[in-house]
């Protein structure tokens, strides 16, 4: 048997039920069909059940009057506004807690992670215990503990605990002094901004200096010094101080003036921060320990101080290890912020539950809320992946 030229016998001889290319297509079509059939079955049940119960699918309700008040609102909102606006308030609250929580948890986590590796035995033990307790108890238990057993047991407003710096702590939350802008604020900001722009220009020229080797005046330093000078001079030059500190004053029933953090907000923020910081601390510790000991010894041999060794030698190398797990901790923090419902802080999930109960249309509300969380998660991981790529470039 000789093969005729031009005829591919390999393919001709394989029957279709053994042809890998055909089998692949068949398997994929079967998988998609199975999933589609399952979804269709579930969807069919859903449509039947919803029509039986008189539920509708649609987002039209978002334009209806919400009719419920939201105590903590970052934007003007009242009960007469629409569900759409209530949703927006919830979203903003989630983002606010998420961003603030991520910042604070990172700071605390790095401090604890470094302290975990301290030479001091007591510091090592105390931070170790903190990490183990936080990691081995549920966040929800911690939140209930913090809210019901600690924050709500504080004295009433009239007997607030006065902390240094006009900070008052009571059942009703934390009251802080707030900076207040005076008419001189605008011009002062403009002045400082001009000097800062000069400093930014300095960065560009210094990049050029590095590229070309040509000497340029140190614009960056001149700009920074200018900004500092302008800030100081401007503070006095405009007659009135551009920023004044407004201190909270205890009135008849509550504090007025200054800034306030409600008890639910304080509970969810502190709870998320101290919980996530324990996980971040472990990530940081792992990252630092992954930097070879010789690097530290070499840095010390060069005469760098302990702080400089950490800042200039250890951290830049540890970051490569730290960033990916840190990303998942950030994602966890944002997702865990949905537990705000436990302490009554009106975040996305709590507003969603209220909306679902009031409109009697749980299905679109659930889709909306889950979709929003998914979008937040995606954006967070995109940002962190971009940062990760920047850090990884340092690798040699």
């Amino acid at each position: 048997m000789t093969a005729a030229p031009g005829v591919d016998h390999r393919h001709a001889s394989v029957p279709p039920w053994r042809d890998v290319r055909i089998l692949r297509v068949v398997a994929q079509v079967a998988a998609v069909a199975a999933v589609a059939a399952a979804l269709a079955w579930l969807g069919g049940n859903l449509v039947t059940a919803m029509s039986e119960r008189g539920l509708a699918f649609g987002f039209g309700f978002l334009d209806n009057r919400a009719g419920f008040a939201i105590p903590d609102s970052p934007m003007p909102y009242e009960a007469n506004d629409t569900y759409g606006q209530a949703y927006l308030v919830g979203l903003l609250n989630t983002l606010f807690v998420g961003v603030l929580g991520i910042l604070l948890a990172t700071v605390l986590g790095v401090v604890v992670g470094v302290a975990r590796l301290s030479d001091n035995w007591l510091v090592k033990r105390v931070t170790g215990t903190y990490i183990e307790v936080m990691r081995n108890t549920p966040l929800l238990v911690q939140l209930f503990f913090l809210y019901f057993a600690v924050l709500l047991q504080l004295p009433p407003v009239a007997d607030s605990i006065a902390l240094p710096g006009s900070v008052y702590l009571s059942q009703r939350g934390l009251f802080l002094p707030a900076p207040q802008a005076s008419p001189a604020f605008g011009p002062w900001v403009a002045l400082v901004a001009m000097a800062l722009a000069l400093a930014l220009l300095g960065r560009v020229t210094s990049a050029r200096r590095k590229a070309t080797g040509r000497r340029t005046p140190p614009w960056g330093r001149i700009g920074l010094a200018g900004a500092l000078g302008a800030a100081v001079v401007g503070w006095f030059a405009f007659g009135a101080a551009p920023l004044t500190l407004q201190v909270p004053e205890l009135g008849r029933f509550n504090f007025s003036g200054g800034m306030s953090m409600s008890t639910p907000f304080t509970a969810i923020l502190i709870g998320l921060v101290i919980y996530t910081a324990a996980f971040i601390a472990e990530v940081v510790r792992g990252g630092i320990q992954s930097v070879r000991r010789g690097q530290v010894e070499a840095a010390r041999a060069l005469g760098l101080s302990e702080g400089d060794t950490l800042r200039l030698v250890v951290f830049p190398q540890a970051l490569r290890i730290i960033v990916p797990p840190l990303t998942s901790q950030y994602l966890n923090l944002v997702k865990n912020s949905s537990l705000a419902i436990a302490v009554g802080y009106p975040d996305l999930f709590k507003v969603g539950v209220t909306m679902s109960n009031q409109t009697g249309q749980p299905v679109p509300v659930i889709v909306l809320i889950m979709g929003t969380y998914l979008a937040i998660s995606l954006v967070t991981s995109l940002l962190m992946n971009a940062y990760n790529r920047r850090v990884q470039v340092l690798e040699r």
Partner: protein
């Protein structure tokens, strides 16, 4: 030139020298030690004083039953004991039969069971035995069961396959014993509560989600684009949303998604939600294990003429699943903690029952006592298991094999 023999330098450190090195090595270190030491003493005095003097621990003591099994009827409590006994025997046998690598896991699970025995106080004879006696009896009985089974396993050496079948049988057995079937009177899931429900939710979650997770992991690494996209989409969507939203969805949408004649109670809905949730995380763990299998294993299997199904079943999965045991123990720990979220959809697991107890007039204001107790229970369980999983990871010598 002669070589003088010298004793090695002494490594023993006097307590004073130890303190100088570890607590007062520099001025900054000494200051920190003083500051933290002072704070710790202040805390110890205050917290200790509260715990001994003011705390109303009787709120916990009087409600121990509720904390442990919820409203599970006292007359049926013997079924839980029997279930624990079966688990102890299986654990002891497995520890004896499987090699030293699995022994750590066996020890850890038996530690978990010991703790359960310690905590599942309601005595088999209703209220005849006082709780403390019943507690000691349960603890000792369980320990005795584990060790008797261990010795028996050493002597008899039952085949591994029987043990695997035995473990698979314990799953339906647990269900039958806890919920009742046939001659056993039914205990409705609305009566399950406390630690019993917490552990059940986590165990059911991990057991049911395991096969689903393995399939998803294989799907995500499949060479077929459509399968890969579907698996990846499921995993990433589930991992991108909080568990509470999934529980909320399961609570409201599962009854709508299933045909009308299907009635599923709240506990089953929560189990469904937890299973769907943890499947995505199991899948990611398993994927890690799959990625650790060298290509040579696949190639060797293909060279032997195995198809892709046989390759996965007999070559890849046994190795991959073995290496993800520690990661899955970690997942079980976090699942155990996450079951507290079912409180938000109204179930009375350990935290939920704590809140219900706090609503009773006689325990009003005992927030600290109740939450400290719940946190301590979780801490003991999770810490023991995390230490076991850590040791397991080392004894299995992951990555060095």
């Amino acid at each position: 030139m002669s070589i003088e023999t010298m004793a090695p330098p002494s490594t023993a450190v006097t307590p004073l020298e130890w303190m100088r090195r570890n607590l007062f090595s520099s001025i900054a270190s000494s200051l920190t030690t003083g500051l933290i030491g002072g704070l710790l003493i202040w805390l110890a005095v205050n917290v200790g004083g509260w715990a001994i003097g003011e705390a109303r621990w009787e709120v916990v003591g009087n409600n121990l039953r509720l904390f442990l099994v919820g409203q599970y009827p006292a007359t049926e409590a013997w079924r839980l004991w029997l279930n624990l006994a079966v688990l102890s025997v299986m654990t002891g046998l497995s520890a004896a039969v499987f090699g030293s690598t699995t022994r750590t896991l066996a020890v850890s699970t038996s530690a978990l069971q010991l703790l359960l025995a310690l905590l599942i106080v309601p005595s088999p004879l209703g209220t005849l035995i006082p709780p403390t006696t019943s507690l000691v009896l349960g603890l000792l009985g369980n320990a005795a069961g584990v060790w008797a089974a261990f010795v028996a396993g050493r002597l008899l050496g039952p085949p591994r396959r029987w043990l695997m079948i035995g473990w698979l049988l314990t799953i339906p057995l647990t269900f039958v014993l806890v919920s009742g079937f046939g001659p056993l009177p039914e205990v409705r899931s609305t009566l399950w509560g406390g630690l019993l429900l917490t552990v059940l939710l986590a165990a059911v979650g991990i057991v049911l989600s395991f096969p689903l997770g393995v399939l998803l992991a294989l799907g995500r690494r499949s060479g077929l684009p459509a399968v890969r996209v579907l698996s990846t989409a499921y995993i990433e969507i589930i991992r991108g949303v909080p568990l509470v939203t999934i529980l909320f969805m399961a609570d409201i949408m599962l009854p709508l998604l299933l045909p009308g004649e299907f009635r599923i109670d709240r506990v089953a809905r929560a189990m469904g939600g937890i299973t769907l949730f943890s499947a995505a995380y199991v899948a990611e763990n398993v994927r890690g294990g799959l990625q650790a299998i060298p290509m040579g294993q696949y190639e060797a299997a293909h060279a032997l003429g195995l198809g892709s199904l046989a390759t996965n079943l007999f070559v890849v999965l046994p190795q991959a699943l073995r290496s993800v045991i520690p990661a899955n123990v970690g997942l079980f720990i976090s699942l155990l903690k996450d079951t507290t979220l079912v409180t938000i959809v109204g179930l009375l697991e350990l935290l939920g029952i704590g809140r219900a107890i706090l609503a009773q007039p006689q325990s009003l204001g005992a927030h600290l006592e109740v939450y400290v107790f719940i946190a301590a229970a979780f801490f003991v369980l999770c810490y023991a298991m995390s230490q076991a999983s850590y040791r397991l990871e080392r004894t299995m010598g992951l990555g060095s094999r």
